[in-house]
Structure formats: C-alpha cells, structure tokens
C-alpha cells in the first residue's frame, strides 16, 4: 500500500514547537481584526477613559496636598453615582496618606468596571462573532485540521486573538494608569504601598478575558452566520443589564438611596447579569469585597468558562465527526 | 446591444477596468480573461451594480445603473452562489420572478418552465442544501432565464461542473443562441467559450486587449514564442540543423535533450519532419511549453506595451 506523501513529512530540518501553531492562528486573527476601521477607532476610544482616570490620580494627589478642599470634594462626590465606596474610604479613620492603596485600587477597579467593561462588550462584538463562524461556513476547518494542528491549539489561537485586543483595551491602559499614578506621586515610596496593584490588574484582566472570550467564541461556533453570533453576544449583555437594572431599581425605589449609593449596594440580582457578575468578582480582586460575597459570582464565571469551552471543543470536532 | 466608451472603474487607487471602448451587436460573445483580469468588474458595470468612474456605458441602448426597465430585459447568472439553502429551487426562482412584479401563480408557472429547461424539474422541490454543485449552477441559470430576457450574462457558468454537466450547460447555451437571443459568457477557460460561441473578447489587467473569432485566437496562440523540448539521440547534430534553418531564437543543449526557443513554433512543427528525413537524427520525445491563455495574454500585453510589434 502506498503511503501518500503529505508534503511536510520529508522535512528533516528543525521544527517549531507545537504551540507555534496557536501563535500563527492568533497572529492571523489579530491581523484580520486589525483591518476593521471601526475596531481601530474603538481601540483609540478605549484609551480616553485612561485620561479621565489619570486625572483622578492627579486630583487624589492634590487632595492629599491641600486638606482645605477635602470637604468640597466630598460634597461633589456625593452627587456622583457609584462613588459610595470612594466616599467611605475618604471618611475612614486612616491617615489620608495611608488611603493611597485603597484610592488607587478604587480608581483601577472603576476603570475596569465602567468604561472598559462597556468598551469590551463592543470590541468583542466586533472581533469574535466571525472568528469561528466564518471558518465553519467557508469550510476552512478542513484546511486547518488537515495540518498537524489539534483542536486545543486551534482554539487557543482563536481565543488569543480576543485576549490580545482585550489586553489592549483593559490591561495595558490600566498598567499605564498605575505607572502614571507613580509619576504623579511625591516619591517612589508609593511603589512599596501599591506593589500588589499591577498583580491585581493582571488578575482582573484574567477575570475579564477568560470567561468573556470563551463565551464569545462559543457563540461564534454555534452558527455559520456571524450576524447571529453578534446578536447573541449583545443580547446576553443587554438582557442581563436590563434584568439587573429593573430589579435593582425596584429595590432602590423601596430604599430611596442617595445618588452615590445607586447600583453598588444591591448585589443580589447581579448574578442575572454577566456584567455585574464580572464586576462583583473584580471588586473582590481589588479588595472591596470578601471572597464570601463574591464566591457565587466567581463560581458562575468558572461555570460559564467550562461550559463554553466544552461546547467549543465539541463544535470544533463536529465537521471531523461528520 | 452593448456600447462602452472609454469606460474605467477605479476602486480607490486600484484599476478594475481600464479605458475600455467596445460596441457589440446582438449576438453571442465570450469574455475571456485570466483570474483578476477585470471580467467580474466589467460584468458588474454591465449589470448596473457598479457605476463607471469614467466613460459611458449603454446596454440595449440604456444606462444600466438603477434602470428597472432594463433589468426586465437582461438576465444575470453571477459566479458566486448566494443561494438560500433552506429553500427549494422552485421557491427561490419563483421568489426572484415575483420581484419582476409577476403574480404568485404566474411566477410559479414561469419558474417551473425555466427549471424544466435546465433539467431540474424533478428536483425543484428539494431544498437547495441537498443539491450538488452542478444542480446549483443549473438553478442559477434557471433564475437568469426565467423571466425570458433578451440578453443573458453569465459569469463562469461552467465552474464546478462535471463533464456531463458541462455538456448539458453547453447545449442549453447553444439553444439559447439558436433562439436568436444574445449572450455574454465570461470565463478563463478558452474551450468552454469556444464550445458555445466563436466571438471572443480578451481582457487582462482591466484592459480589452483583443477581440476576434476562435480561429484568430488560435492563430495568436500558435504564434506565441515558446519553448520546445526535444529528446533525441544526437542533440548537437539536431541543434546544428535547427541553427542552419534560422528558425530558433535560442538553444540549450543537455545530455540527450535540446531545448529551443522560437517565435515560429508553427513553422517549426510543420518543417521539422522534412528536415529530419535527410538525417539520421531520431527524436524520441517532443514537448512544448503549455500554450496557455496566460501566454497569450502576456504576449498581448507586451504588444500593447510596445515591447513587440
């Protein structure tokens, strides 16, 4: 029986490691996504909140240097939503210079949760829906898996494409913010007080990136038409937001909280919203919630990741099984 | 039927179609060109899906862009599939007929008729997802002829067809022409067009390089300089013989092989047996380089660029 020469077998030169297959897929995915003008514009927009929060670092340092304005600042903060955590820190008994870690953590957590959370949804909605659905429709699967490439390597390459852009949107700006905070501080001693924040940024990034990328690609693998995958992605977030918004508004109406207490207080309904579930775990990462408060949310994210990857592995194998 | 005056189509800085001037009487024509030559762009201009960046274009005396009346007179079968796989061929063709303003019943009758013409009547109620490649091509042709247009435009209609399918498609198109209707058939394969019509338009690099009959194209191919490899028992003797006849442009000799480059291969083929009869040179094998259309187009481009006369 003649064994057919598949071309690459006679190669006797050195071969790259298997993981490079994933890197190739990721590189191509990144390059293809980069061709989208709208994604490039969104990436530019994603850095604007860093400017806003950079101003927050600046004003915090000014707040430390000028005690006479503290009451006025607190008065203003009372009018801004989602700041009850910040106000409770500022009203705490600690020496203000000791609050630096908490304030910086709050700024970084807010950065992750509010502007970058929304931009993440839009960016992944631009990138992810066609990543696998187009491969299914064009039968590129047959080309991929006629090479020495495993399902895991294929999926890792696809997920890495999404991770790359999420890192550009969230991780990198947050790290730049941290470094900016150091430059705006009176001395390098602040590094000693805040050395753990870069690690928390990386963990918060992982919390943001892993379940969302898995879910997005899972949706992409379920259909051959990227517009359905895109719709499903946005619908999950929108329906979750709405659910949380309506139910927490009901509770708020009963309690009549102040403006700054809106949304942050109610966590019971957060598990119905992926956005708020992510936010709850990020609060724990940055030290504003205990693990007991966040364990359900964390478990939910782990479950979403596991289910998404399971479905992904099965869907990726489906053309081969047929 | 078709008039183009200095038509150019630009995609930003990329030229799709470059200064084409053309006037075609009603009839059947083949648009022949390699991949990326501008055939699809030209067809998109003719079918009114694109507007020329420069120049004017008229189809059946009318400007095609946004011309509803013209769309009733032309039928277009594009190269891409674009079929709704969950619907049957009959439903799809009927739907497209309804867009001509026909009632449901009339559209159904005409759809059935056209599907019968293309040999799909037996399968017309099956979902398109279950069709083979050839059946899909026939469905595409059915939608193009269903509303009985005067002028049929086809982009690579033989793509993906097996030999039987090609033969059937050829017969269909010949019948179409025999009925006195007009046809413009785009392909990159000469013999596909040759089997249907004898009039060619040769396009490459967005330019209309030449037009003529099949014989004229064949003559052009025959006159293209090419390499011929001759395996023989006395390569140096053969090389000397060919040099004496002054018919070759260059010769390369290896152990048992002579590779000649000549601008008159036709003449060489005709005269070689006579020359060899007077010698003891034996030729075991003779191969010529693929006299492909690409060679033809390369040659035509060189002529247009002034490199050859």
């Amino acid at each position: 029986m003649a064994i057919h020469d598949l071309g690459y077998r006679p190669w006797t030169g050195s071969r790259a490691a298997d993981i490079t297959g994933s890197l190739v897929i990721a590189r191509i995915g990144i390059r293809r996504a980069w061709q989208s003008r709208w994604l490039r514009r969104l990436l530019l927009l994603a850095w604007l909140p860093a400017v806003w929060f950079g101003a927050g670092f600046f004003f915090w340092e000014q707040w430390l240097l000028h005690p006479e304005v503290r009451d006025k600042v607190q008065f203003v903060l009372l009018k801004i939503p989602y700041t009850n955590q910040l106000i409770s820190i500022l009203r705490g008994p600690e020496d203000p210079t000791q609050m630096r870690h908490a304030i910086w953590a709050w700024l970084l957590q807010s950065f992750f949760r509010y502007p970058q959370g929304v931009i993440m949804v839009l960016a992944v909605g631009l990138i992810a829906p066609q990543l696998i659905s187009q491969d299914v429709r064009s039968r590129a699967f047959l080309l991929y898996f006629s090479r020495p490439l495993s399902r895991f390597e294929y999926l890792l390459g696809k997920i890495a494409t999404v991770w790359f852009y999420l890192a550009m949107i969230a991780t990198l700006p947050a790290l730049v913010l941290y470094i900016l905070g150091i430059f705006l501080s009176p001395s390098l001693d602040v590094v000693q007080a805040t050395w753990d924040l870069p690690l928390r940024i990386l963990i918060a990034s992982a919390v943001l990136m892993i379940p969302t990328a898995s879910l997005a690609l899972c949706i992409s693998s379920l259909t051959q038409e990227s517009r359905y995958a895109g719709f499903a992605w946005f619908a999950i977030w929108i329906l979750g937001w709405f659910t949380y918004g309506v139910l927490s508004s009901l509770d708020s109406m009963a309690r009549q909280p102040a403006a700054h207490q809106v949304a942050d207080h109610v966590t019971g309904w957060s598990h119905l919203s992926l956005y708020h579930t992510l936010g709850q775990v990020q609060r724990w990462v940055f030290g504003f919630a205990s693990f007991q408060e966040s364990q359900t949310s964390a478990a939910l994210l782990v479950a979403i990741t596991i289910v998404s990857i399971t479905i992904l592995m099965r869907r990726t194998a489906a053309p081969m099984r047929a | 039927m078709l008039t183009l005056n200095n038509v150019t189509k630009l995609y930003g800085t990329v030229i799709g179609v470059n200064d084409i001037t053309l006037a075609l009487e009603p009839g059947a024509y083949g648009l022949l060109g390699p991949n990326g030559s501008g055939k699809s762009t030209l067809l998109n201009l003719i079918t009114g899906q694109l507007k020329p960046s420069m120049g004017t274009l008229h189809v059946l005396g009318q400007v095609p862009w946004g011309n509803a009346a013209l769309y009733r007179q032309i039928g277009y079968c594009p190269g891409s599939e674009g079929l709704y796989s969950n619907f049957s061929g009959y439903q799809w063709v009927r739907y497209l007929l309804q867009l001509h303003g026909l009632s449901l019943s009339t559209a159904g009758e005409m759809a059935t008729r056209s599907l019968g013409v293309v040999g799909m009547r037996g399968s017309m109620h099956r979902p398109i997802a279950s069709y083979s490649r050839g059946m899909r091509q026939r469905i595409k042709l059915a939608q193009a002829i269903a509303h009985e247009p005067e002028f049929l435009i086809l982009d690579e209609p033989f793509n993906g067809l097996d030999p039987v399918g090609r033969h059937e498609m050829t017969c269909l198109l010949r019948d179409w022409i025999a009925a006195g209707k007009s046809l413009l058939l785009a392909s990159h394969i000469l013999h596909e067009i040759e089997s249907v019509t004898h009039s060619f338009l040769l396009i490459s690099g967005g330019r209309l390089l030449a037009s003529g009959t099949a014989e004229e194209v064949g003559q052009m191919l025959a006159d293209i300089p090419g390499e011929i490899t001759l395996s023989c028992n006395q390569p140096y003797r053969l090389a000397q013989l060919l040099m004496e006849q002054k018919i070759v442009d260059s010769i390369k000799i290896s152990s048992q092989t002579v590779v000649v480059s000549t601008s008159r291969p036709h003449h060489l083929f005709a005269q070689l047996p006579g020359w060899l009869a007077e010698t003891d040179v034996e030729i075991f094998e003779m191969r010529s380089a693929d006299q492909s259309l690409q060679s033809l187009f390369d040659a035509l481009l060189k002529i247009h660029q002034g490199q050859w006369s």
Binding site: R32, A33, Q35, S36, R37, W38, V118, L122, G125, L126, T223, E225, S226, R227, Y228, G230, F231, F234, A235, I238, L239, F242, T243, G245, V246, L247, S249, L250, D251, M253, A254 | S40, N44, T47, G48, Q49, L50, K51, G66, A68, A69, Y71, R72, I74, Y76, P78, S80, E81, G82, Y84, N86, F87, Q91, Y95, L96, Q98, L99, H100, G101, S103
Partner: protein, 259 residues
C-alpha cells in the same frame, strides 16, 4: 414599483423567519418581559401603579423593540452581501427598494407580534390595578417604537453594512440610552425622548415628587400628537435615508471585507 415586489420580499422573509433559531429568539423576546415581571412579583410586594408603567415601558417598547429590530433590520443589507445573494436581488426591477421595504415590514410585524404577546403575558402576571389601561398604553407605545427603531436600524445597516450590528448597539447606548435622558435640546433628536413623553402623557404618570421638575425638563410639555407626528416623520425619514443610501452606493459581495 409594484407593491407586490416588496410583498414578495415580506412573505419570503417571514418564511425565512420560521427557522428554529429565529423562532427561538422570537420566544425569548416574548418570554423575557414575562420573566422579569414574574421575578418582580415573586421578590417584592405588588408595586404601585407607576413603576409598572415604567418597567413595562423599559421591557417592551424599549428592550423588545430594540433587540428585535437589531436582529432583523440592522443586517438587512449585510446579510445578503455576506451570503452573496445581493446580486440576484439588485438586478431585479426595483429589487433593492423592494428588499429594504419588504424586510422592514417583516421586521416590524415580527417584532411587534413578539412585543404584544410578551406584553399580554406580562400584564397577566403583573395583575396591576388597571390592567387594560396599562396594556393599551404600552401597546400603543410598542406600535410606535417598533417601526421607529426598525427604520433607525435599517438606516444604520445601510450606512454601515460591514459592522451594522455593533454600530447600532453603540448608537443605542450613546444616543438612545444616555443622550435620550439628558434634559437638553439634543435629547429631542432621539426616539427615546418622544416615547418617554408619550408614556408620561398616555400613562397619566405624575410629574411630581422627587423627580418632578427633572422629569419635566427631560420630556417637555408638548402634546402627544406632536410626538407621534414627529416619530412618524422620523420613521419615514430613516426609511427614505435607507432607500437613498442603497440606491446611491455601490454594493457588491466583494466589498464585504473587514471594514
């Protein structure tokens, strides 16, 4: 143009809508408001009258209309380009116009049916003090919001076919959900502003209390017919914009690159 042209598209699109995936989304849009209302009933005592109007307004004329129109209307052009079926429609007499109007009608009927069914189930679960009045108010708003959002997303889909859905979501977030609640001239340009004003008027919601003056600043005091007329004009303008864009622009399947 023969009305039968876009009638053909309308019926054809409804046939396409009977696929399992689309029917599943239709059911989701019907049942989601009912799910939320059920959660409200289970988790708290019967809210007073006004919150029901606000919740059902957020769920039906806003959420269901927006999501349904997003699924159907925004990819009207891009779906055909992606499938390479645009060509067949573009070379039909008035094919592009028929496609847009037919898809628009199909969108409105599909979304409105889901909205009204979902509203009916929700009102049955909510058991408010004035069920018929609540249902009729929200139903009237849905009958206005569905065509308006469908036209808006159709126009967005024609202007930006390559990233229609993402741009439609971004537009909705920024304009309808943020700018729409800013008490200034700019919010009058949004559908949200008009719908909110109609809700307050038709639902006879009080403008007093904590948010009284703020609410009045946000929605103004124009009569209801004024808002309905403007929304009708807005809908027609968006449809006209969509048709004009499709007629002026050159669409080919090859143009569907990552743009």
């Amino acid at each position: 143009m023969n009305p039968g042209n876009f009638g053909a598209v309308f019926f054809f699109e409804w046939q396409r809508a009977l696929s399992p995936a689309r029917m599943a989304w239709w059911l989701v849009l019907i049942l989601f408001p009912a799910f939320i209302v059920a959660l409200i009933r289970v988790s708290s005592a019967q809210p007073p009258r006004e919150p029901w109007y606000i919740f059902l307004f957020a769920l039906v004329p806003m959420l269901v209309s927006m999501l349904g129109s997003l699924l159907w209307a925004s990819p009207a052009v891009s779906s055909e380009l992606e499938l390479h079926s645009w060509t067949y429609l573009a070379v039909r007499p008035h094919g592009k116009t028929a496609l847009l109007l037919g898809k628009y009608l199909a969108t409105v009927t599909w979304v409105l049916s889901a909205a009204l069914l979902g509203l009916s189930i929700s009102v049955l679960i909510a058991r408010p003090a004035d069920p018929w009045y609540l249902w009729s108010t929200i139903a009237k708003l849905a009958c206005i919001s569905c065509p308006a959002y469908a036209a808006l997303y159709l126009a967005i889909g024609c202007l930006f076919p390559q990233r229609a859905m993402a741009i439609a979501v971004a537009y909705t977030l920024v304009f309808e959900l943020v700018v729409g609640f800013v008490p200034a001239l700019i919010n009058k340009l949004t559908v949200q502003y008009r719908l909110l004003a109609l809700l307050v008027d038709w639902g006879t919601l009080p403008l007093g209390g904590r948010s009284g003056s703020g609410m009045l600043a946000m929605i103004g005091d124009a009569p209801a017919w004024h808002h309905v007329a403007i929304l009708a004009g807005y809908t027609a303008a968006m449809l006209l914009l969509a048709v004009v864009v499709v007629h002026l622009r050159e669409f080919t399947s090859e143009s569907m690159t990552n743009g």
